[in-house]
């Protein structure tokens, strides 16, 4: 981590990311190896504040790995990732600061099965953000209302459908007021009907100005809602740009084929 970053972290929060034309996420020449296998091969991309960026591509193209690297869940072997002013990837320093600004939602929801919906959401509020129980409960009610599940506050995850669990997972992340949210194939485990309710929540978030990066197979959704689309292939950013332009005129054969197959 550079000296400048540390100063930023030690002092006030990084410059507000709401300002337009500010890259909230900067990925530069990132390389990631699993043993001998190079899964990310010189990946670079920028995500601007308030944007929704969809990362698409075939299985094994490295898109989920890229997202996990952005959040420090995987370390990188080369290059540089900055997210909300935090340097991520090599070494695990200042994770707490990173966590304060970046939320993440997973394919398998990963709610805590032994805790109620309320406690799933308030756990980090009380432990990390040091909120009082009442404040935390209030915040839980607020975010649950936002995802349309206010009445489920006392339920256990097991009592909810997959789509509801995923919305709770989004609420849990949202409760911490992140500046950026990462979504890792969040609808891949859901049937079409439940997918819709989760996508609706995400669309609301996008409309509310949340900076979002999502790895997804929901092409129609990406095409309709995402500002930017990144097509990954063989561990590289094969093609990227504003959604409309990209879909209207694919530049590479691989991308044309990918969207042509209707995946």
């Amino acid at each position: 981590m550079s000296r400048d970053d540390q100063q930023t972290l030690a002092g006030t929060r990084p410059a507000p990311t709401g300002a337009p034309d500010t890259a909230v996420i900067k990925v530069r020449d990132v390389e990631k190896l699993f043993g001998q296998l190079k899964v990310l091969d010189g990946v670079s991309l920028d995500v601007m504040a308030g944007q929704m960026v969809a990362i698409i591509g075939r299985s094994g193209s490295g898109k989920s790995t890229l997202l996990r690297c952005m959040n420090g869940l995987e370390d990188i072997q080369g290059g540089d990732i900055t997210i909300c002013g935090h340097n991520v990837g090599r070494g695990k320093s200042n994770r707490a600061d990173l966590r304060r600004d970046v939320g993440m939602v997973f394919q398998s929801y990963n709610l805590f099965p032994h805790l109620t919906v309320e406690r799933n959401i308030t756990l980090a509020l009380t432990l990390v953000k040091k909120k009082s129980k009442a404040e935390a409960r209030q915040r839980a009610e607020q975010v649950l209302a936002q995802v349309g599940l206010a009445e489920k506050i006392d339920a256990y995850p097991e009592q909810l459908s997959g789509g509801q669990q995923q919305r709770v997972a989004i609420a849990r992340s949202l409760a911490l007021s992140p500046q950026v949210m990462l979504f890792d194939e969040v609808t891949s485990a859901l049937d079409p009907e439940l997918t819709v309710e989760v996508l609706r929540v995400m669309e609301d978030l996008a409309r509310g100005g949340m900076t979002m990066v999502l790895v997804t197979h929901e092409m129609a959704f990406a095409q309709r809602v995402a500002d930017q689309v990144v097509f990954m292939h063989k561990g590289k950013v094969w093609e990227s740009g504003p959604t409309k332009e990209l879909f209207a005129a694919p530049k590479t054969a691989e991308f044309a084929q990918f969207i042509g197959t209707g995946l």
Binding site: A96, F106, N110, A124, S173
Partner: protein
């Protein structure tokens, strides 16, 4: 030959208290040691993992009987004369700790890796992850094997009789030596062991059910 009578029964029941006391020492001592060992086994520090693994391997490969001999007779040669209850308590703690450590390591690792990731991503530190997310789930997984092992431990306390500690089994031997009524005496002893162990099994089932309802 002395007739088997109520005095003998009382004597055996009083000795049964020591079986319970010894079991409790073994359990609580072993649980503390076991938890430390389990956490060491899944630690990020190689040295802790190696040391705890070596300890567990060593103890698991040693008969409890030998541990008892070592802590009672062996230590006395070195000038540490432990009372039988202390030597038995110490041996059982070392023994139970090793087994619970290994059982609980498995239970901690049985909690999905994604639970670590999810709790990491909301900013919990490692201690908070253990305390609020990982261990509560591991406890559920751990209950049946732990109670099952405890039943074994209650019965294994009978080995303490070889270092002259008068617990249930030793009391049975003593009474039998004067009454020559092995069938009656040892049936009574067996019944008392059963009376101690059975509630444990029942408690385990109740707990399991409770956990299942709660989630």
């Amino acid at each position: 030959m002395i007739q088997f009578g109520s005095a003998h029964v009382i004597y055996i029941f009083e000795a049964a208290r020591w079986t319970i006391v010894l079991s409790l020492i073994a359990f609580f001592g072993g649980a503390v040691l076991g938890l430390l060992l389990a956490l060491a086994r899944v630690s990020r520090l190689l040295i802790l993992r190696a040391l705890s693994a070596a300890y567990i391997q060593t103890i698991q490969g040693t008969p409890l009987l030998i541990l008892l001999f070592l802590s009672y007779f062996g230590l006395s040669l070195l000038g540490y004369r432990l009372a039988p209850i202390v030597a038995a308590g110490l041996s059982l703690t070392l023994y139970v700790g090793a087994f619970l450590g290994e059982i609980w390591r498995g239970c901690i690792q049985a909690v999905p890796r994604t639970q670590w990731e999810a709790s990491d991503c909301i900013g919990l530190n490692r201690f908070q992850q253990y305390a609020y997310v990982i261990l509560p789930q591991a406890v559920r997984i751990a209950t049946p094997p732990t109670v099952g092992f405890m039943v074994q431990v209650v019965k294994n306390t009978s080995l303490a009789s070889v270092i002259g500690f008068v617990e249930l089994t030793r009391a049975g031997q003593i009474v039998n030596n004067s009454t020559f009524q092995p069938l009656v005496v040892f049936l009574l002893v067996a019944a008392i062991y059963f009376a101690i162990c059975y509630p444990l099994s029942v408690a385990s089932r109740v707990l399991e059910r409770k956990f299942n309802v709660a989630r």
